[in-house]
Symmetry: C2
Subunit: 378 residues, 2 copies
């Protein structure tokens, strides 16, 4: 922590009073790349070396960097540049458009989003360091392959094991944590900083040590089924993969506490919808359920999710946590999550509604996890 | 193994007699992407949707896909395509040039190479399945962060732990395994398939179970030092990071056999040079040393590496394996490795020279590891 804070502090001092100045390379840049640069007022300057292109633009992915493409200006050497208005803190996908061709910025790291490897820029958040590496014991994120009978494939998961897992003998509760549409099993680690968030929470004793399992929720339909409309994988088979293949494999290979009281499921956006559907549909397996900006359509406390909420007292005895999160800058998600929360409150079903100021982007979900994880397995 | 072989077999049958036909999507494509496609004769068809571009090309990274850019042809809808001559089996980096701007193909996975995230295409190798997932016990590759006093940074490693590591109590030997210039700590996993290679070797009892540690060998010079000429990180500080920070951290955090007889170092290209320099310079710490297509300049058995080879008998008693690998299609590397081998043989220094038919590309190094790892810790 000391070192990291010192670096951020020195960057901040160095930029003080340089509003609109050249700033510092984004932490999401590849090593040595000087652009994109983030100024002290969070304006972002992009630069693209493309002398033979006719038109070059930066197209934001999420809302926090803006909503429409920025036209870049060419200098005499064929270097194109543009500076955006101040960006919202957090992680923003973006694309470079070279004569209309949508691609990556070679100067930025890529992250799996939009069903492909996509550039992103990280904007520092003066209000938060909970997702940055600190001088605390660190867990690990591991890639593991396993064979899924449901899909007939070797599939990869990423799994967070807390500090002390390897050297200890204890058993741990498990959170199944899913990404959004077009992302994959790497996203909570790369975009979400899940390991730093958990390391910091566990070190502060704000969360109990737990295992976190991250699968790829974009599960192609089973062999023989028609492909999804756009040729991309759908997510229809994920429930079967999770229940029939993944949970048994995790409980066989890891030192888990293998019962519903020590098993949680959560996810963001599409993954929030999956968490609600799978969690509420398998209360014999999950006692904690979280929807981070999940899509919830036409919610009715009497009929939604096969009427699981109808007997509020029974539900409250059985489910230890039902958690909804949404940002005020993602109006539709906010309204639907808030609406579900209010209906459930009225029906006497205990649940939590957590609000952030963010749009439908990863900063939202980092904050969500930081609120959700401490409530688990208490 | 059964399932994977069946998939490949069915693809092969499906393509039989379709030389030059449309083929199958490369395994390196993002899910659902139909291009690049690899035909049964290993010709590769690329397709890029860029209606407003004036010129679109595919530029090979390594030699196995060709040596010069391929001009693509535009159809009436603005889709550009080209089919290459038959490619060499294995992993080939490539770039898309959009009006001269060098970028990624959104349809392919990216891999860290050339100091940035770079597209690649995987060409099946009819002669080899040792680097594919099979129905054997699988180890894990974990990302771990640690603080380096040498660089004053939080640094990330990737580490392979063999099947049974988590559930057992035993201690294991350690191989430090490094990537090439412009790559990073993810490369042996993503490009190299290190986990599948080791899982398969260990299952066949061809290699002893071992831990494999992969750091980022592009270590920026120490704070205060002048930056490398091109603004990219150099590798000057890697030796200090490895010896002073990394080895002690690994021996503290993992169940290692923490002596020289159970410690190996190897690497490819730049990493091969690092393995020779660091390994031969620290024989108190390493008993096994491997250079996969490493750069070896002006080798002299009497004077190179501080004269470590001068007393051949002493060297032979101390070093359990000195291993050189090179491909016949990478002439300079082959000549220098072969030259070092011959000089050492003549001087009575025991060493192994291993030859592949490949160029300076990853297929070479997958084969190298498959020969090198079985010789360790016997």
């Amino acid at each position: 922590m000391v070192k990291v804070a010192a670096i951020f502090l020195s960057a901040a001092l160095c930029l003080a009073g340089q509003s609109g100045g050249d700033g510092a390379p984004a932490s999401s840049n590849v090593p040595g790349a000087q652009y994109p640069r983030v100024a002290s007022d969070l304006r972002v300057t992009f630069r693209i070396n493309a002398p033979d292109a006719q038109k070059v633009q930066i197209k934001p992915g999420g809302d926090g960097l803006g909503k429409t493409p920025y036209d870049m200006t060419r200098d005499a050497n064929g270097i194109w540049s543009v500076t955006t208005p101040p960006a919202v803190p957090g992680f923003h996908y973006y694309f470079v458009l070279i004569d209309g061709f949508q691609t990556n910025d070679p100067q930025s790291e890529t992250y799996f989003g939009y069903n492909q490897e996509t550039s992103a820029v990280e904007i520092p958040d003066a209000a938060a360091d909970f997702y940055l590496p600190k001088d605390v014991p660190h867990g690990e994120v591991s890639a593991r392959w396993y064979f899924s009978k449901t899909t007939g494939q070797w599939r990869r998961i990423h799994i967070y094991t807390p500090p002390g897992y390897d050297s200890g003998r204890g058993r741990y509760p498990v959170l199944y944590l899913q990404h959004g549409s077009g992302e994959n099993d790497t996203s909570w680690t790369k975009q979400g900083h899940v390991a730093f968030i958990m390391d910091n929470l566990i070190a502060a004793k704000s969360a109990v040590p737990m295992i976190i399992v991250m699968e790829n929720g974009m599960v192609a339909a089973k062999p023989g089924a028609a492909p999804a409309q756009n040729g991309r994988p759908g997510n229809a088979a994920f429930e079967e993969v999770l229940i029939n293949d993944l949970v048994p494999m995790i409980d066989a290979h890891y030192r888990t506490l293998a019962d519903r009281d020590h098993r949680a499921i959560a996810g963001l956006s599409m993954g929030g919808g999956q968490a609600l559907r799978i969690g509420l549909g398998h209360l014999d397996k999950f006692a904690y359920i979280g929807s981070f900006s999940g899509a919830i359509r036409g919610f009715d406390a009497n009929t939604s999710y096969d009427g699981v909420f109808r007997d509020a007292a029974a539900f409250n005895r059985r489910v230890k946590l039902l958690w909804f999160g949404a940002g005020t800058a993602e109006e539709a998600m906010h309204n639907s999550a808030r609406g579900a929360h209010d209906s459930l409150e009225k029906a006497g079903v205990k649940n939590v509604f957590h609000e952030t100021p963010f749009a439908h982007e990863w900063q939202n979900w980092r904050y969500d996890l930081n609120d959700f994880a401490p409530r688990l397995f208490r």
